[in-house]
Amino acid sequence: MSSMLNAFSDLVKTRDGQSDSESATPDQRTTKIETNGLDFYYGDQQALFDISMTIPERAVTALIGPSGCGKSTFLRTLNRMNDIIEGTRLTGQVLLEGIDIYAPAIDVVALRKKVGMVFQKSTPFPKSIFDNIAYGPRIAGLRDRRKLTEIVESSLKRAALWDEVKDRINESAMALSGGQQQRLCIARALATSPDVLLMDEPASALDPASTARVEDLIFELKENYTIVIVTHNMQQAARVSDTTAFFFQGRLIEVGDTRQLFTNPKQKQTEDYITGRFG
């Protein structure tokens, strides 16, 4: 058992500047998002049970757990993407910088600009690369071509895609490779200048090289953004995240510093999961 945990501790050490080498411990970081007693229902079926956790600012929080454990549902409650699905219901609180995002006065459209999202399957629009990135600012009312060009360039640069596409910015985004499409989607989400970036298994459909690029990107982006990432891949969670939360059957089993959670889990279920006993 301990040898398996040590194998993970090796993975955890693969990056400099991650969690323990930073001066601030998770408890001292500013809280960006906080959930209190969050219950979520699809019709009569309860998908989330009493989730209370905090998500620190400018850090990567990974949500892990077996399929159907509610981690993606939880992620989508954070920008109210679940609202789209008919017959869903939520009780409890989701606080973004202390503001209840499910309060009646909240404008969902404005919320989603602040809390961007990247999906598992890359979903470029059937438009040019430029129009893809400019979509968010444009629907927000920006018409100035020069400003749009600036945003497109800076977003693509931040998503580490600029050098690969700068000569074909007006060509179709569908012609990009899978990994490039996913980074395009990240750039597109960055173009609306969000504070928080939600990622739902952003690398699960990518080859190892593209996965590495996306992971590098996530690591760079946490300088400026609060990132919440759902992943099946525990090595990935260990590599990129500062905080990890383990979900099981709609409940939050354990949340803590990534290094601690992978090397010294407090709960038996967490240990069973990360050592591959189930899931």
């Binding site: 008919e86 989603r112 629009f125 979509y135």
Partner: protein, 341 residues
């Protein structure tokens, strides 16, 4: 060692049988499919050749630019051609926005309840209703307006003044607008169902991606869903319009004239429009005829020469339909090119 060639039919169960009989079945099916394709094509060729043969010598510039006449050699298609064009344009103006709007509502906005489910299932049934029924409906609703107006009606008004000397007659009477509205009702279900299919084919991930970027529902529909669905919607509209163009029965019911010696609004050239712009407004409220009715009328004539006139009319109808379809396919192609898949 020479390869054995099975000349006689191989016995069932033998390896030779197993290896060959599937191939025969395949060939047989392929032949059947080819026969159905080519027989359809043959019928079309026979139709076009026989009609063109009979129309030969009758289809000329004079035929296209003259009104109907009692004398076959002086009869022309102009009234029908202009009437059909007016009617189809007005039909498109009514049916496309309403049809696409209804499809967008049903697919993108409406919640799934008993009422919307009833509407959804009955749309397909409506598309199967015989066209004569729409004619009767049009006659009651648009031509007579339930007898609400006029001498015996509830409201004693003749019409609503519009612009210049143009007046909207109430009820509409046997006019272009009555015909166009009836045809709109006829093709609406076809357009709605086709547009629904096209909207459903747009991947949900596209909508989610747009919404997640802070787009409103309307912006998502306007910028992502409709452009992606447009080629499919166009296909449905093309089919529906082609059907409306060749439709005769409901227009006979509405009371389109069989012998008309004028065009709607008396517009026979652009010059008329420049001289009297109000004629454009008058035209939809004018009596009319359409190409299919004109053909129907000629076929019924006793003089055998009118059969040639009818054939010439059919050729014109076919050509107009081909041009219309070609135009729509071009537009669809253009809208597909704007999508950068």
């Amino acid at each position: 060692m020479s390869t054995p060639t099975p000349t006689a039919a191989p016995t069932p169960g033998s390896t030779a049988h197993e290896l060959t009989h599937g191939r025969r079945e395949n060939r047989l099916f392929e032949t059947l499919c080819a026969v159905s394709t080519w027989s359809t094509f043959a019928v079309l060729v026979i139709l076009i050749v026989s009609v063109s043969y009979r129309a030969w010598g009758w289809l000329d510039w004079q035929f296209l630019t003259s009104f109907d006449s009692r004398k076959p050699e002086r009869a022309g298609i102009l009234a029908g051609l202009l009437g059909s064009c007016w009617m189809i344009v007005i039909t498109i103006m009514f049916s496309v926005p309403v049809g696409v709007g209804a499809a967008v509502y049903l697919e993108e906005y409406a919640t799934d309840n008993l009422l919307t489910r009833i509407i959804r299932t009955n749309l397909a049934n409506l598309a199967g209703v015989p066209s004569i029924v729409y004619g009767i409906l049009g006659l009651t609703v648009f031509v007579r307006m339930f007898g609400l107006f006029g001498e015996q009606g509830l409201f004693h008004i003749e019409g609503i003044p519009l612009w210049g000397d143009a007046v909207i007659p109430l009820p509409f009477g046997r006019t272009v607008i009555s015909g166009a509205l009836s045809l709109s009702l006829l093709i609406l279900p076809v357009i709605i169902v086709a547009a629904q299919e096209a909207l459903r084919a747009v991947p949900p991930s596209l909508r989610h991606a747009s919404l997640a970027l802070g787009a409103t529902r309307w912006q998502t529909i306007r910028h992502q869903v409709l452009p992606s669905a447009l080629p499919g919607i166009m296909t449905g509209v093309i089919l529906a319009i082609s059907r409306a163009f060749g439709e005769t029965a409901p227009l006979v019911m509405i009371g389109a004239m069989t012998f008309v010696r004028f065009a709607p609004g008396k517009i026979t050239s652009l010059q008329v429009v420049f001289d009297d712009p109000a004629s454009l407004v008058r035209a939809p409220f004018d009596t009319f005829t359409v190409i299919p009715i004109q053909i129907f009328n000629w076929v019924r004539q006793a003089k055998s020469e009118f059969q040639h006139v009818a054939a010439a009319g059919i050729v014109v109808l076919l050509v107009v339909l081909l041009v219309l379809n070609g135009l729509a396919i071009y537009v669809r192609h253009r809208s597909q090119k704007n999508l950068r898949w």
